[in-house]
Symmetry: D2
Subunit: 312 residues, 4 copies
Amino acid sequence: MPDLVRETGKRLRNWGRWGADDQRGTLNYITPADIVRAASLIRRGDVFSLAIPFDAKGPQIDQPRRFNPIHRMMITGPDCTTGAIRFPGGVGFSDDMVIMPLQCATQWDALSHCFEDGRMYNGYDANEVSSRGAKRNGIDKIARGIVARGVLLDMPRVKNVRWLEAGYAIGAEDLDGALAHHHVTVGRGDALLVRTGHMTLCRERGSWGDYAGGDAPGLSFHTADWMHRRQIAAVATDTWGMEVRPNEFPDVFQPLHQVCIPNMGLTIGEIFFLDELADDCARDGVYEFFFVAPPLPITGAVGSPINPLAIK
Amino acid sequence: MPDLVRETGKRLRNWGRWGADDQRGTLNYITPADIVRAASLIRRGDVFSLAIPFDAKGPQIDQPRRFNPIHRMMITGPDCTTGAIRFPGGVGFSDDMVIMPLQCATQWDALSHCFEDGRMYNGYDANEVSSRGAKRNGIDKIARGIVARGVLLDMPRVKNVRWLEAGYAIGAEDLDGALAHHHVTVGRGDALLVRTGHMTLCRERGSWGDYAGGDAPGLSFHTADWMHRRQIAAVATDTWGMEVRPNEFPDVFQPLHQVCIPNMGLTIGEIFFLDELADDCARDGVYEFFFVAPPLPITGAVGSPINPLAIK
Amino acid sequence: MPDLVRETGKRLRNWGRWGADDQRGTLNYITPADIVRAASLIRRGDVFSLAIPFDAKGPQIDQPRRFNPIHRMMITGPDCTTGAIRFPGGVGFSDDMVIMPLQCATQWDALSHCFEDGRMYNGYDANEVSSRGAKRNGIDKIARGIVARGVLLDMPRVKNVRWLEAGYAIGAEDLDGALAHHHVTVGRGDALLVRTGHMTLCRERGSWGDYAGGDAPGLSFHTADWMHRRQIAAVATDTWGMEVRPNEFPDVFQPLHQVCIPNMGLTIGEIFFLDELADDCARDGVYEFFFVAPPLPITGAVGSPINPLAIK
Amino acid sequence: MPDLVRETGKRLRNWGRWGADDQRGTLNYITPADIVRAASLIRRGDVFSLAIPFDAKGPQIDQPRRFNPIHRMMITGPDCTTGAIRFPGGVGFSDDMVIMPLQCATQWDALSHCFEDGRMYNGYDANEVSSRGAKRNGIDKIARGIVARGVLLDMPRVKNVRWLEAGYAIGAEDLDGALAHHHVTVGRGDALLVRTGHMTLCRERGSWGDYAGGDAPGLSFHTADWMHRRQIAAVATDTWGMEVRPNEFPDVFQPLHQVCIPNMGLTIGEIFFLDELADDCARDGVYEFFFVAPPLPITGAVGSPINPLAIK
């Protein structure tokens, strides 16, 4: 790992900031008062779902571990209408199940998702994330979240393009420019949603292609300081991996993750569907909203599928 | 099926009420203005998670189809710390998956979960819920929901007991009594949460026992009219099956489901954890709140695991 | 369905042949004496595995229901070597699991896999194969099998090509020609293995392509009579679907299956790896062997993954 | 770990015996000539399946990692008979899937299943069994097996009891006594099946109880030498864990496994159904047979479900 990555991580490290036992990281920035203020952003009562469909047509194509959700029925209408399966009174029920990697679609990374030098956020041993699941920093530790003020930065709109090109590294100045363009601010306890348009590209061409793991626009490594200084609670994008790809350092995988997750304790969201919300924000010029995205409290999980809602 | 069940269903039937193509049922009662008003209930910024832990210790014991969530790791801390699996730069990642029935823990029933005489809500053919999933009334149809004003009726507190006994059928007069006791009203577009204390009993004795499928307190069949008249958007309880068990008609399985789901198009929630919220409501005397419980938009699913949030 | 398909099925129908309760079909042709005779074919003690590897690189690509086996570890070496998971005495164990369609790789079709006009083999109602599994004709009914004399017909070798072209329908005269070429006979109670070379093609080009469900050489519909007359116990090929594709009747899916499975009660094997065995048979000129392919006795299953062995 | 366990392991260690690259261990004892001789034991053509049913009623009750097979349909008879799912020509198909730990029912342990001091059989690093599966000693390495002469030792019959009591440690002298009683020998390359009657007990009482992981009769630690000296190829029992439980050393888990798997490279089978075979052997006085139990060649797996056959 390049020195810069390790040094940046060390510099922005939040270990101990919220106590030696903390497992929530930057979500601690969100105060009850922030939530009350965020609620005041619900002005029209319009709800936007930021999740992609969870199904076999998802973006996990030829991935080493992750696959698209496998949804299977356990009892069906035809079981009941034919009398093959009978319930008292002749009524009928259906039931179903899913098999899915927790990070196969729209999702939160838990703070146990990423390790640096054998350590997790707050200094916990990476070996605490064994095959038994995450004893520390599991997604279950943030079951009450994430509720916050959300801010959308719609980079393609700012730059007047349909989408950023793969490989485009969104820098701190880009983020500042977008804030100015949108006449919005972002700060302590906010959930920052950055639209790159990469998912728009996939939707327009009708295929995910190498969306999962391939080249993509995304946040530059150098935005870590910017997010740290502003005390962002969570960050999410419409891409597979939040940060720009190819990565900015040839010899380290997802370097911004290294700084954000194990060091800052910053919750990261990925594969967010932001197009519809972005269109609405462009229409009314309001880029802030009530944001709520509760993870499934799967005990010891290192991520969670979510259906984030933005409410304006 | 007894005539009363079929007649009640027919009488309270909402087919066509929101158009021949509707797949959202009583969630249509919720207007944007309702959501704005509900947001005003966020006064302190306190968030309550109404989900039970999703893990192997859940309530699905010896059930015919449903089982508790199976969470398994796909890459772990030890994989990384030993170098057994290497990423460029020596960084480390963990990843995991889940196998679970969609209704194994805290959940919404989709409107495709229940059939009467071969029909679903809005008259759709039950055979449209084949092994390929629900073509109609799937949970994906309510991806933007459920955001509403929530109202808790804490029956044990009203009756000054720790929990209602198994078999206790909560009647309309019980609901009215609770509203009066709590100094709260419930009406069009609200999410009604009814606490029976049955989960409290399980937690105190340290085992789920026959929580799934066994005898339990719950709503009486005769509350269907009450809910219909008040134009409730969704109803949920802290029990496995919402309605009282043993069922009130010996020869029909879950008769209230038959009226609510295929006829009224009422979204039902089950296995909600309401104890913590109830304690808070007792403390401050406020039994209404902002309620948000987005389902995972699994295409064609007949239910969804959820982590409902109540925000006061 | 064309009349010819239905008529052929009716003509070759074995319903009742082995009793009204039979669920084993043509496997009944195999007598204990046949097994003893088959054992005498074990002359050199060489064992050939006829299974493909069960893993993520299998042939199920973009299929509507089937996917390749998902193998995941539940406890690993690194869990133990790091002490993340400890057993008394410091010993270590690994454990794993699989998620797989039962017909995703080398497999037997059970007699409950295919229906004609709502009926299964021996006249059972197709509705007996509900979401609860197959009450009749499940793979568990043939747990003692399949042990038989095996005969390989190596069609490409007979025709002096590397593989038959996709769409080539192997006819009865082809089978007779191969028997003559190989100086072997096939008859009552035998397991007939037919090599088309289609898997060889996939292996040589390094990709499965549309092996699953695409065009392929295979048995002609018109071999049904030939197999019936010879009282074959089971038939298997190195292709996805045993019979030629595109199917010989444009308006019916897998017509030979319709005759073989629901009518004849013939057990069909697919995705057999026959190349190594074929090479050996070419070397020694012996195309018969002891054949054993026990299914996993999964209760109510309509197929089973297998590792068939040919022993010479 | 007690010195005796480690010393015994070291003394009986077969590392390098079949080459530095060997991954088959004691299965190397089986020669082609042995297989030919074993075939001569097929005298009557009777086949015995030694697998228990693979279903939800299996023995995995409240286990930390393993669960019973989850079999689910993917398309059913009712889907077809109702026309909910249509195939060209009106034909019908069913399909299904399974989710199962590879060692949940009748099974082989792979040589990668067990580690001592961070090493596997033949000295390979235990870290080679990461979350990616077993790079070494995977079950796929024995895809051609196991074909051998089988010998059954029916301990309860020898001792004239219905089953051995839980905790009974079958010693070398017991094994010798059984050989004498049965007038059979066991030696190089044989598969040794030892019946304790523990499964008989479960079947008679109608419940598995603590069969998985609880107290049970089984082989004594001190039979390791006996098996090593006789050059057994594989050993299997009708119990969950092959060796006696409680284990004979209080401070080490499954000590005989430690000697057999990582040191000797002995393939171990568990949860074998031996009652029917045992009855037959008692009837005809013949305790040897042709034994064949091919694992599913799941790439990198550390065990495999099997349907072992004994053929007499």
